[in-house]
């Protein structure tokens, strides 16, 4: 599966998923309330250091998120003119710290571990309202499987368009695309149901 997870065995990888999720939540709440520039700078350096400790892949990841830079710096500049440079710097630092630490958890926790964590968390709730918590895993698996299916269906329909016309495909192509996807969905539902008629997915 396509994922932003980096496989490895660093100290971050060895922490339990639940603890990392809680930590990132607690840290973000603290950061939002923080006022001291020094503390925010220290946190930023700490987060960068954590990426660094993951090895070359971690450093690569740190630079991979630079597509966010224009957005965040743009926001920072806009604010600098309105509320002053110190407040703008503080806001920009906060965003960087929060995004970097949250992404650190994504980079070091396998998708399945997060999924299991969430399943464990909601199982009591599901029992209470009489639903099957495994439905969530099924929905996630189905959705991820549907993405390449939809992409290849879109490409097939584009090719069919080019076979008939030398103009650029128009938005009109969207109609058969969605209609075909929906009717295929109903076939998939029928075959899922046929395989486990007793369980309510």
């Amino acid at each position: 599966m396509i994922s932003l997870y980096i496989s490895g065995d660093s100290w971050m990888h060895r922490q339990p998923a639940g603890a990392k999720l809680l930590a990132v939540l607690a840290l973000s709440i603290t950061v939002l309330a923080a006022q001291s520039l020094i503390w925010l700078l220290l946190l930023l350096v700490g987060a960068a250091g954590a990426y660094n400790s993951l090895g070359p892949k971690g450093r690569q990841r740190l630079f991979a998120s630079r597509f966010l830079l224009p957005l965040i710096l743009g926001l920072g500049f806009a604010q600098g003119f309105i509320v002053g440079w110190e407040a703008a710097l503080r806001a920009t630092l906060k965003i960087f710290v929060m995004i970097m630490t949250a992404d650190l958890v994504t980079a070091t926790t396998p998708t399945q571990a997060i999924l299991n964590c969430v399943e464990r968390l909601i199982t009591p709730l599901c029992r209470y309202i009489g639903r099957d918590p495994r439905k969530i895993s099924l929905a996630v698996a189905l959705m991820i499987r549907f993405i390449p299916v939809l992409v290849s269906q879109w490409q097939a329909q584009r090719e069919a368009w080019f076979a008939r016309s030398n103009r650029k495909p128009s938005l009109r192509l969207l109609t058969p695309f969605v209609a075909q996807a929906l009717s295929r969905t109903d076939q998939i539902a029928e075959s899922l149901q046929a395989r486990s008629p007793t369980s309510r997915h």
Binding site: V24, L32, M98, I144, I147, L150, A189, H201
Partner: protein, 187 residues
């Protein structure tokens, strides 16, 4: 013999997964070249939010967005521009993402009410539902979110956000047109 309600439930689940995937795919498709938006980036993904509400109804449309956001949180790079992971939930656009769920619900709810009131005009009903439900709730959540994360005033956050409304109107038109062109049996 197939249990009828179990079949409906399975069908709902698969359709929810389909629309969540559709939103992901709309983020991959290069943005439509519309001449009259003058450089304002249009992510087709909010059109997916409107479509989820229109095709699935309030409850399932809402669940489709929740599933999509959940998969984003799991680390799949399915937001437009290949973004994903827990980081986006702490970034400046988090409010808009939460607003998507509210938006899909609102589109479904408004469309269902309009249909009861006047069932013949599919395009008009869907357009009103997409305009009211697919735009307003997204900004109601998005603007305070931006204001909180980026420590901006609400007015300033509103100003930078509202540039995207013209694009949203085009997406509402597209979504409504798409629903009205659907064959009866899949609608």
């Amino acid at each position: 013999m197939l249990d009828n309600s179990a079949m409906t439930s399975t069908r709902d689940l698969v359709r929810i997964a389909l629309f969540a995937a559709l939103i992901a795919v709309l983020g991959l498709i290069p943005k439509f070249d519309l001449p009259f938006t003058a450089g304002v980036p249009i992510t087709a993904q909010t059109m997916g939010v409107m479509l989820a509400g229109l095709f699935l109804g309030a409850r399932n449309g809402f669940l489709a967005i929740v599933l999509f956001l959940f998969v984003v949180a799991l680390g799949a790079p399915v937001l437009s521009g290949g973004r994903g992971g827990l980081g986006v939930f702490f970034g400046p656009t988090v409010g808009f993402l939460i607003g998507w769920a509210a938006g899909a619900w609102a589109v479904g709810e408004i469309y269902a009410r309009m249909k009861r009131f006047q069932s013949e005009r599919i395009f008009i009903n869907a357009l009103i539902a997409s305009l009211l439900g697919g735009i307003i709730p997204i900004y109601v959540f998005g603007i305070p979110g931006l204001s909180l994360i980026a420590s901006m005033t609400l007015e300033k956050a509103a100003m930078v956000s509202l540039i995207f409304v013209p694009g949203d109107v085009i997406k509402a038109l597209l979504a409504a047109w798409l629903l009205s062109k659907m064959p009866e049996k899949v609608r």
